[in-house]
Symmetry: C2
Subunit: 125 residues, 2 copies
DNA sequence: ATATGTACCATTACTACAGATGGTACATAT
DNA sequence: ATATGTACCATCTGTAGTAATGGTACATAT
């Protein structure tokens, strides 16, 4: 299992991490249950901040790609393969695309959409 | 017809303009067909930039509250009253609220929503 | 000439957020 | 002791958008 971080790549580090781990799971390079390097260990190896790795791990856990077991470490999720093709971000894009397209069709300005969106995201609900 | 701009109000000037004109139409202070002060004139009176007034007028025209007739000036839209209760911004808020709520319910991070939203708004489609 | 709406060009100040970094601390286990 | 994930605190840089300002110009009319 090799993870390579490309700093010249505009893609955020935590995203590169997620993608590579996800790909490794899909390609059977990381079978279900396989222990992953610890957050601190991986951060040290890749020379990135541990919070950055923690962020990637946290999102991967939310997507059911990996499992965190506290002091026991992190492992590939038992059903990782079936979940790693469920692209939540793609679904998010589709949802928003429809919504924005509808608004634009009604003549709502992009600026107005942005402002309304910003207000909604600020009011935590 | 009096329009007052409050600089201390965090509400943008062009928004204050829109609201007051809209309210005046709803309250019959500005009957359909009434000529509005010209963009430059109003900008001069209120001591704001003409582009700011133009922006308000443009949005009001999109909402069918007023009509611009080029060199002839701007007038209250013939069907202004029936349109001035159709709150496009409110409708926009409702659309986005639903969309965001759905995404959040699925566990999508606010940060992810923002990033996806930003990408979509940049790619002009 | 003068005035209308409109369409470009541009700049400035302000705000907000992402991404990443660093430090500290906790409970839990070996 | 050492290591695990995790949760706070914080700072910094870069980017991006809004709001508003200003200037110039155009076709169209009185």
């Amino acid at each position: 299992m090799e993870i390579v971080i490309n700093i010249d790549d505009p893609t955020p580090v935590f995203t590169q991490l997620m993608e590579q781990i996800k790909t490794a799971v899909a390609n059977n390079h990381l079978p279900e249950g396989t222990p992953l390097p610890s957050i601190r260990q991986l951060a040290n190896d890749l020379e990135v901040n541990s919070k950055t790795v923690a962020k990637a791990y946290k999102l991967l856990e939310r997507d059911n790609i990996i499992q965190s077991r506290g002091y026991r470490g992190s492992f590939v999720h038992p059903d990782a393969k079936s979940h790693c093709h469920i692209d939540l971000s793609q679904w998010t894009t589709e949802m928003l695309t429809d919504c924005i397209a509808t608004l634009r069709a009604k003549g709502v300005t992009d600026s107005e959409i942005r402002v309304a969106f910003g207000s909604l995201m600020n009011s935590k609900f």
